[in-house]
């Protein structure tokens, strides 16, 4: 089926391509409700505001829609609530019930594609030729990444055993194993592991030869053994000549692992494997995590909660507790590798969720490279994409088992964010980068996060039919750079030793309340610093340029003239820039400075705007009354978010003989 065919078949699902007089409700302030037209296209839901001057548009990609809900009819019409996978919540009010129902039916279908071909990445067609597309897929090279780690070397090499995905269809084609293991050992070990996911290398520390290896659980049941698997672990341990034992980390709670034994699975028996130290780390399973995030989202979308409600809700969601447990596992592993010089084998049940999380967070702690933009991309490519994290299932790209959906990658990104909060100077990227990645994991805009394994992607010809996200993010790296990053120090510092005291784990407002503009700081320190830094660089370049010119000029008089000019011009650029771009709270900037900038930076990049993404065009600052309107928005905060108890003006009216002063109807 070609793309056009798919497109036509999707068009069939659209019962109502256009609905007039739809109201887009601003959840934070009813006063900002807009009236406009709702369009349904094959790929997007589009709302266009009616206002003559402030024509605002809202584009929502169908693949980002998590669920669509019809609410009870209100006076003004029939509300339709759309929850997105990027935590945007959109509420439309549609005048006619039949229209509302049609939109509901269409959107429900469109947001749950049944076939890969229906996904946006197959129809997304930026203006680039075939060669360029191919090129975009060559942007990251895992082979180069392994050689950066120092592989292959005298102890480790690539095995060709899985080239055809015959030994393990969820593993990548190229895998690193100890040179000393033979093919029969690998095959034997793979047969003794869930889904054939035998122990293989994830991270190599060339300084001390310690490794992080990963696998799935052994099929040990209550007593089964496998000589090859034991040899495999032995070989991994011996490939680290400096150590006399290795850790085997089972990231599951002990109870879960024991329960698995009844199903013929389980964990390594320390008596059967030589020189292993076995360790449970209780990270909960995907179902617990899904429920936890659901609770967290409920808290984040509470309407004007009190401080107590919010904190209690946050606590009851358990979300931060889970983040902490992943972090603690990673800390344990990174310390084993860097400080003890001991290799670690990590597994959970299948070795594609918790294992991916823990290995990749440990890598971020261990290796400053993963704290750079390119490094994080490579890490995700390696530990998540190539090792078969089931993106399609976990992110719910296609209509399918709801039980398979789980925010496993969200938790990884959040762990990195928590680390960034603790070590503001050690990461080259900023939180916008993490949020952009989060966006694209779910958007199905690019092919990278489609399918559940490398094999599936190959079968589907992802590289031929879709584009890769990485070069696109790289092009926008200026937006994603942390101005506080100190590369030199970070190199020296090697291992990050994060605190894991409970107070170190914060609520990620920028992700979960990303679209609630009024919740975020009105001015951004980092953006401001970035501008300052860019300017400094620009000045330096200018200075260098003038110095060059000066060198060329011989005559003293001419020299003096240029000096003067140089000073003048550099001054101009300097003072004009901060005034324009600074985030000072001038009427325009009050909306435009940070907030206006936010949607395009935080959603997707400028170039894509035309390609239909989530942008609120209407957020551009208006002329003079922009000031006024935004002040009102601030005002709304205080009246609607008054402090819970008797604080509302209307509650003034206590029964008092002279209770003439009922609530001043200020609004």
């Amino acid at each position: 089926m070609s793309c056009t065919e798919v497109w036509w078949s999707e068009m069939e699902h659209i019962k109502m391509p256009k609905v007039e007089n739809v109201r887009l409700v601003d959840r934070s302030s009813s006063r900002r409700t807009q009236v406009g037209t709702l369009y349904l296209t094959a790929t997007h839901t589009i709302f266009v505001g009616k206002g003559s001057e402030d024509r605002s548009e809202l584009w929502v990609l169908h693949s980002l829609v998590c669920n669509v809900l019809k609410h009870k009819a209100s006076q003004s019409g029939y509300p339709l609530l759309i929850h997105c996978k990027n935590f945007q919540v959109i509420q439309f009010i549609i005048p006619q019930e039949s229209d509302c129902h049609n939109v509901y039916i269409s959107l429900s279908r469109l947001s749950r594609p049944e076939k890969y071909e229906e996904l946006y990445c197959f129809s997304f067609n930026p203006n680039v030729d075939k060669a360029e597309r191919g090129h975009s897929w060559d942007f990251l090279d895992l082979k180069a990444e392994y050689s950066r780690m120092g592989l292959p070397d005298k102890l480790w090499h690539v095995t060709a055993i899985n080239r055809e995905y015959r030994v393990c269809d969820t593993y990548p084609a190229d895998l690193f194993v100890p040179k000393s293991v033979t093919l029969p050992v690998i095959i034997g070990s793979s047969k003794f592991r869930s889904r054939g996911r035998f122990p293989t290398l994830s991270y190599y520390c060339k300084e001390n030869h310690a490794t992080i290896c990963r696998s799935s659980q052994p099929l040990s049941g209550f007593s089964a053994r496998c000589l090859e698997d034991e040899q495999m672990l032995q070989a991994i341990m011996k490939s680290n000549p400096g150590s006399r034992f290795m850790y085997v980390v089972d990231t599951r709670p002990k109870l879960n692992a024991m329960a698995n034994r009844a199903a013929g699975k389980g964990y390594e028996n320390e008596d059967n494997y030589c020189n292993i130290k076995f360790q449970f780390i209780g990270i909960e399973n995907i179902h617990v995590m899904r429920n936890s995030q659901q609770k967290l989202i409920e808290v984040s979308t509470l309407r004007s909660p009190s401080m107590g409600e919010f904190l209690t809700g946050l606590e009851n969601s358990d979300w931060l507790r889970h983040i902490k447990s992943i972090m603690e596992a990673a800390v344990f592993i990174s310390k084993a590798v860097a400080e003890e010089g001991v290799s670690v084998l990590v597994h959970c049940s299948d070795g594609w969720d918790r294992t991916a999380q823990v290995c990749s967070v440990a890598s971020v702690l261990l290796d400053p490279y993963y704290r750079t933009l390119k490094g994080l991309m490579v890490l995700i490519e390696k530990d998540w994409i190539s090792f078969g994290h089931k993106f399609s299932h976990r992110c719910g790209h296609l209509d399918g088992e709801a039980k398979e959906v789980s925010p496993v990658i969200d938790q990884f990104l959040e762990c990195v964010w928590q680390l960034m909060k603790q070590f503001p100077c050690y990461f080259e990227y900023n939180e916008k980068f993490l949020i952009s990645i989060h966006d694209h994991v779910y958007s199905c805009h690019y092919g990278n996060f489609i399918c559940n394994s490398q094999k599936e992607r190959k079968d589907l010809c992802i590289k031929e039919k879709t584009h890769s996200i990485w070069p696109h993010l790289w092009e926008n790296k200026l937006d994603f750079t942390n101005p506080l990053f100190k590369p030199d120090q970070s190199q020296n510092q090697g291992l990050l030793r994060p605190r894991t005291a409970p107070y170190c784990f914060k609520y990620w407002r920028r992700l979960y309340n990303r679209f609630d503009r009024e919740l975020h700081p009105r001015q951004s320190e980092l953006d401001c610093l970035m501008t300052v830094k860019e300017e400094t660089q620009q000045l330096e370049e200018e200075l260098a340029l003038y110095e060059q010119k000066l060198a060329v000029l011989d005559k003293e008089r001419a020299k003096a003239l240029y000096m003067q000019k140089g000073v003048l011009e550099s001054k101009q650029t300097l003072w004009s820039l901060p005034l324009d771009t600074s985030l000072a709270n001038t009427p325009q900037d009050y909306i435009g400075g940070f907030i206006g900038g936010a949607p395009n930076v935080f959603t997707l990049q400028q170039g894509e705007r035309e390609n239909a993404e989530l942008c609120l065009f209407g957020d551009k600052p208006k002329s003079s009354d922009a000031d006024n309107s935004d002040q009102e928005s601030g005002v709304a905060d205080f009246s609607s978010h008054s402090s819970g108890e008797e604080s509302l003006p209307s509650e003034d009216s206590v029964k008092d003989p002279d209770s003439d002063e009922t609530g001043p109807n200020r609004e």
Binding site: C425, Q631, S653, D658
Partner: protein, 527 residues
């Protein structure tokens, strides 16, 4: 009794000092009348730690064999441990600390003995006076005047000698209004909007009592405030119910029938002991080393500290909304008008008035709205979060203000000229200081004790150019607009710089701050 009589053992050798993030040190410990001095001489380089005894909130002694350990918990939340060889010495030191850290006589306190060579006691004390403020604020000249009715502090013991009141209200009326207000705190001007001329007034509650007493002069005074405009707002910092109850004990509120042009809005604010206990619980939560996120979050929630921050900021926002957006004058009061009233009125000014967001402007604001306005610092800050002493009148209102300002700074990192360092310094100084600024409870007491003649002024010293520099916000970009903070729970955070100050977490932030400075400095050099 001489202070030195409290000291039985002045010197102990071979004391081991433990503090967060530093290896243990051995050295000599000295106790003087006002300080605890630990010095370590090693390889010629000597290192000293000097702690004001007044900074010590609580001490705990423990005997280990023949030696003793003293844990010192400071009001700035630092916790230290001293291992002292010899039980007797240990007990002597402990009892000296206990006696000398809780001196009650103001003139015995250290600011009266602090004589650094770079400061002089000559010259005016403080940054500004009511008269100077009036002179500088042209906007006031037309309708407002400075009244000296309280020049001998007889009308209101906690007010300064001069206050700003409506021009048309004479001193006799003021005296009568004062009799009708708790503690004599009649309505006075706190702030006048720079462009629309609307004002923020503050006072204490009216003494209407159960019989609904009236005071014509008080009514006239408020009438004069709005002067013909249609409406003013009274922001009562108690719930309507509390205000009702206050009548039973002689207090009350302004009823609509008597104050026709004023609308009353009630916002509930906790006060006194409740807020002090919040602080204690919060600090306890921060020092809980058990490793459960649930426990942390529930303790944080349970402390209610962030809820107080939330209420203070939202009420201040409401005040600004009235003054700035709607163009109405506002009277703020709670009961005594010495705590939450000052908190709300000064926060409102920070949100509203660009002038109060500079270093000088902010310090002037504190001087005007807290020190001159009679916040009882000595009572409120007698103890901080660690003390086991029975609570008397302690309440961290001022710390709450600093926290709120910090929240504003987080949300508008470019709008304040000063940095977190200034807030932290003030949080420390308010509990224990070399300077006289936060001594006593009001101007009258300061006068009687001779504070202005015999101590140095903190604010003046902070404004010395070389010192002020360390309190500057490198990213400051003045703005004339009101800076409306978000008061959603998601937008308010724990002030880690303060409450987790002595943890590694805060140390990484220090590194980030230095990096910000170096980026900005590099930029400035290029310019």
């Amino acid at each position: 009794m001489e202070l030195s009589e409290h000291i039985k053992t002045a010197n102990v050798e071979d004391v081991t000092l433990r503090r967060p993030f530093h290896p243990a040190l051995r050295g000599t410990l000295c106790v003087t009348s006002h300080h605890l001095l630990f010095s370590n001489r090693k390889d010629e380089a000597s290192w000293q730690l000097l702690i004001l005894l007044k900074n010590i909130d609580a001490i705990e002694k423990r005997a280990v064999g023949s030696s003793g350990t003293i844990t010192i918990k400071c009001k700035d939340l630092l916790v230290l441990q001293l291992e002292i060889p010899g039980m007797e010495e240990c007990l002597n030191i402990a009892s000296s600390i206990e006696a000398l850290s809780s001196l009650e006589s103001v003139t015995e306190m250290y600011p009266f003995f602090y004589r650094p060579s770079h400061l002089t006691l000559l010259g005016p004390w403080g940054l500004s006076t009511t008269e100077q403020y009036y002179k500088q604020t042209e906007r006031l000249w037309d309708r407002w005047r400075v009244s000296k009715v309280n020049s001998d502090y007889s009308v209101c013991p906690s007010y300064p000698s001069a206050v700003i009141v409506p021009r048309e209200v004479d001193d006799d009326k003021l005296i009568r209004s004062a009799r009708f207000r708790q503690g004599g705190r009649f309505p006075v001007l706190s702030y006048c909007h720079h462009s629309n001329g609307m004002v923020i007034m503050r006072s204490s509650q009216p003494l209407t009592g159960a019989n609904k007493k009236r005071c014509k002069e008080d009514e006239l005074l408020l009438q004069a405030v709005i002067d013909g405009s249609e409406l003013g707002y009274i922001i009562d910092l108690r719930s309507a119910q509390q205000a009702q109850q206050a009548r039973m004990t002689g207090g009350g509120f302004e009823s609509k029938s008597c104050y026709r042009h004023w609308k009353r809005i009630h916002r509930h604010h906790e006060r006194g002991k409740v807020v002090q206990e919040s602080l204690i619980k919060l600090v306890e939560a921060c020092s809980d080393l058990s490793h459960s996120v649930d426990r942390w979050l529930s303790k944080l929630e349970n402390s209610k500290w962030l809820s107080h921050v939330h209420s203070a900021l939202s009420t201040a926002g409401l005040v600004v909304e009235c003054v700035e957006r709607d163009g109405h004058s506002v009277l703020v009061h709670g009961s005594e008008g010495t705590d939450n009233t000052l908190l709300v009125s000064s926060l409102a000014q920070i949100i509203l008035d660009p002038a109060s967001r500079t270093v000088t402007g902010f310090l002037c604001l504190l001087e005007r709205e807290w020190i001159q306005a009679g916040h009882p610092f000595q009572q409120r800050c007698a103890h901080s979060a660690y003390s086991h002493a029975r609570l008397k009148q302690e309440c961290p209102s001022f710390l709450l203000l600093l926290d709120c300002v910090w929240q504003v700074w987080r949300q508008f990192p470019l709008a304040l000229e000063f940095s977190e360092a200034l807030l932290l310094r003030l949080a420390q100084e308010v509990y224990a200081s070399n300077y006289g600024t936060f001594l006593c409870n009001n101007e009258q007491e300061r006068c009687a004790a001779g504070v202005k003649e015999n101590t140095h002024c903190l604010f003046q010293s902070m404004l010395k150019p070389d010192i002020e520099e360390q309190y500057l916000n490198p990213l400051y970009e003045p703005t004339d607009l009101a800076i409306w903070p978000s008061v959603h729970p998601q937008s308010l955070q724990l002030w880690t710089g303060m409450f987790l100050r002595w943890t590694e977490y805060a140390q990484n932030m220090e590194e980030a701050r230095e990096e910000v400075w170096s980026i900005v400095k590099e930029h400035r050099e290029r310019v």
